[in-house]
Symmetry: C3
Subunit: 405 residues, 3 copies
């Protein structure tokens, strides 16, 4: 029996006073949105974007456990993260259970370290969370960060029972060559690459690409499923994803950019020859902290920015402000678009500006305006009178209050 | 980093010892029922009525966050409350996220402050929880309490995508004119009014009215949906709710009463003229604390009664006992009743008596007997042999053990 | 208001320093599996087997509350345990809400006290958790343990509304005649019996028997539902379960065995005479702790084994190791098997060997190999090319890391 201490540091904790001793953290995330569209056919509304609970336990110096639950929305899958992690050494760990597949800077960076309401369109091309096993760590004082794992390849709590039970391979490698350098402006420069490879079955052909304003709605920029314009797919071979990334931060300024590519090989519709389906996307974003706080890249990801003074008007303190801009582009495979379905586009380009007001390490407001231009019309809905609403662009203003406790 | 204290006061907490400092509360509610019906066609059974988890965080003096989850039943929507609240001043706050729409004394009063197994039939006519934004507070030392907000109008985690995306307006105003008076018997006298107004779409025409014994079952007193006796509804205009309330408490005695009204305007069935649908209900209830504890009305709602001594037979202490009686009445729109469906009644009146044994601030037993008389037969089920069971009344005894920790 | 202490003992707690004082425990269970089959038709994969949260509250000396949630899988029913328990005396309690029906040693023993990846096939024949009321306790210093209760008989959060609303009776009695004896080798010898009896309706005819490797998949060893080879069942009479158990532990060695029987009486298919359906199963298992720790039986169940030293290679400590072996047998009612459906077998026998490495009271790895032989082929799936995969045996290796915090 141990007597433990209670406190708060980036979250409420109960822990022993030894180094690396026992610790339990209980926390959560709540994000409340208001979304307004420029197009009248779209549905302006309030939304709960995330409502998560988090439990983190450090039970022994060499073992951690993490559980995260998401209760937003009308979903049956509430388990987000559920992993155990054994420390092999100070810098290398083996993680197993359900967690984020290693891929892409944007995906690996926590919500709190991103400065737009939503991730870029390329996010849809990457893997999400999955069940598996991963080795990850860093070499040479954070100069090289790696993660590589084996996963089911079926996504969160995937219970698809296709023919292929080969695991998906996923890996990410990030190099920060000047991490130890004395040149401050080079210190946070990193480049990286990721890839996943899996033999798949039909249940894995389920792509849905979304623009910023389509998040949480039934609308998509591109849909590829079982049932295509060539007929029902009967066989699939591989799914290959690749991404290249670069990031640089210097004092109150940061730049990030990524290129994503997703390829399904040999999708075989009934009675027709097999063919591939290819998708790509890129984004470039720039962040500037108007109140002078510094951006930090650590362990291959962008750290959440910590305001120097927290909101307290009585003392003339108002927190930190980050201004961010992003350009992005998506190309969907033309071949697989059914022109009468109006659910997929060949190309889309999007531009975002976002103002982040970080009142407190735990509280943030985001004002994000994103304009997306589609190459083809997308159906919004069929009205009761039989008329169909289409949109060819989307301009969406998202107001978000986010709190992490 | 702060070191915090751990304790219990109306729930377990971790908090700093400063005034208005950081605080996390973790708690829950568990209600186990046994329900017995006088009618043999109905299904006597044990039930878990509520099984909630609650997290409340005070992160900064000016910001609170609340998360409540309900895990009872075979539902996918577990998120009950998910709100952030910014204190504008000591007496006024801005709340956003998902929470109870401001409407009606009975709805605003917590479970622990109500002395019957279920809320009255009028509860079905009011709004429930929704996603939105609300300003609320009080003036003149609790003499005037107000709350007004904008909501999606689609209920919990509503993701309906109708044509109308106008927000619902909801407001409640309660006046306690003698709050500051020295006349004890006038102090807790309050009157109030509430209203909601929304332009709606078809997905919002989904009324289900339930009697006490129908809670948690598939049975209803009145159903109004898409598909009516006039055919499928193709258009809807407004939904307007109003309620009037009065409450009075003096020492161990309390009276409450409310009148509810719900109106859908211009429901347009296919090929037929549009018409309105109107519903109303009222209840009057009286509570008497046999063990002498006082009832308290504060911030416009009934506070849970605190027993003077907790159950401890060794010291001859048995907690508090509250006896309560209620009469209520419901009128449903005659026009929209399909006489061959047997799912709706024109009128219902109900009478309840309930004994509340409050063993401890956290433990309560309720013995509630409610008799409801229907103006028309309601179908219970079709038996395998083809016979149909109907009921024209309901007499239900609910035994509940309730614990809040 | 009370100030409480924080600590860890078999879980994190907040509690007062009085004897039997207020206490809140927050904990969880995470089990990550990798499952590999000897049969190529089966699907090797990673899995989250359990991802539970647990809250236990002791609010007053005479009342406890327990809530357990399971978030693994694509399920809507997350509430596992939700009960209140009133202490009648030191040794007898009344429990109500949702919890495990009293039946069988294997079912009553917690996961941590079992040494195979999955419970035996007989587990499928027993009751699971249900909503009801139970008296349980022990006499003569743990010599006699009993539990008896009334339940809905419809399982977790059952909301089936059949004709029969008679409660299910369930009881278990365990006798350890030599508990107080000075003969160490007789002390932990116990024998017991359990039974359940219920008048049922059609919704209760829903048997699915699974082998070790079928857990969490859609496959079964035997399926009995509404729709049988004799046609749709129109009436059902009783469901009767019985089990006999014996267990013995002496120092580092333990033996357990059980016999299960399940009988549905007078299942009446449409236009055919009523007939019974009968099922039985047994298992025998032996456990040996290679590192010398002792097994303990207490309150009628097997206690989790506590390692003498926790994993710490620097000090040459590696935890405890338990080797376990099990033989089991299942017989399904021949009459109700539809020979062209390939979803049920007449008989199955299974053999398991399992190595348990208990690194820490909270961490355990299990390596379980189970071979099951079926008397008849069972369909695995229909391939896209029209071929059907069948199996007549199952050899499955389960690797599990389990953590309880």
């Amino acid at each position: 029996e141990n007597t433990l201490l209670t406190g708060y540091k980036d979250g409420f904790y109960i822990r022993s006073d030894e180094q690396d001793g026992m610790e339990l953290r209980v926390g959560g995330t709540l994000q409340g949105d208001y979304r307004h569209y420029g197009e009248t056919a779209r549905d302006n509304r309030f939304d709960i974007r995330r409502a998560r609970l988090m439990f983190r336990g450090q039970l022994t110096p060499w073992f951690r456990v993490g559980l995260t639950y998401e209760f937003q929305g009308n979903e049956t899958k509430h388990l987000i993260d559920a992993y155990g992690e054994a420390a092999i050494s100070e810098f290398h760990s083996l993680r197993f259970g359900q967690f984020k597949e290693p891929f892409s800077l944007e995906w690996q960076t926590r919500n709190k370290g991103l400065y737009f309401a939503e991730r870029s369109m390329g996010y849809s091309l990457g893997p999400k969370r999955d069940i598996g096993l991963m080795l990850h760590g860093s070499f040479y004082h954070d100069t090289v960060n790696y993660a590589a794992g084996l996963f089911n390849g079926d996504g969160i709590d995937g219970s698809s029972g296709g023919e292929s039970d080969e695991p998906e391979l996923a890996a990410r490698l990030v190099v920060s060559p000047f991490k130890a350098s004395s040149a401050e402006w080079l210190k946070f420069l990193q480049i990286g690459a990721s890839a996943t490879y899996a033999q798949i079955d039909l249940s894995n052909v389920d792509l849905e690409v979304k623009s910023s304003g389509m998040t949480g709605t039934g609308m998509n920029l591109y849909v590829l499923g079982h049932n295509t314009k060539f007929g029902v797919i009967q066989n699939a071979d591989n799914r290959i994803r690749t991404s290249l990334e670069a990031a640089w931060a210097w004092e109150s300024f940061a730049l990030t950019g990524e290129y994503f590519r997703l390829k399904y090989t040999d999708l075989k519709p009934s009675g027709k020859p097999a063919r591939d389906a290819e998708f790509s996307s890129w984004y470039v974003s720039a962040m500037c902290c108007l109140t002078g706080e510094d951006f930090v890249l650590s362990r291959g990801v962008m750290k959440p920015l910590h305001p120097e003074s927290v909101f307290n008007p009585a003392e003339g303190a108002f927190g930190a402000v980050v201004l961010a801009a992003r350009a992005e582009y998506f190309t969907g495979d033309e071949d697989w678009i059914n022109p009468v379905a109006f659910v997929s586009v060949k190309e889309a380009d999007a531009y975002s500006v976002a103002l982040n007001w970080i009142l407190h390490p735990m509280h943030r407001m985001i004002f994000d305006y994103t304009y997306t231009d589609f190459s083809d019309p997308v159906r919004v809905r069929v009205n009761p009178d039989g008329n169909v609403d289409y949109v060819e662009k989307e301009s969406v203003l998202t107001l978000r209050f986010s709190t992490d406790f």
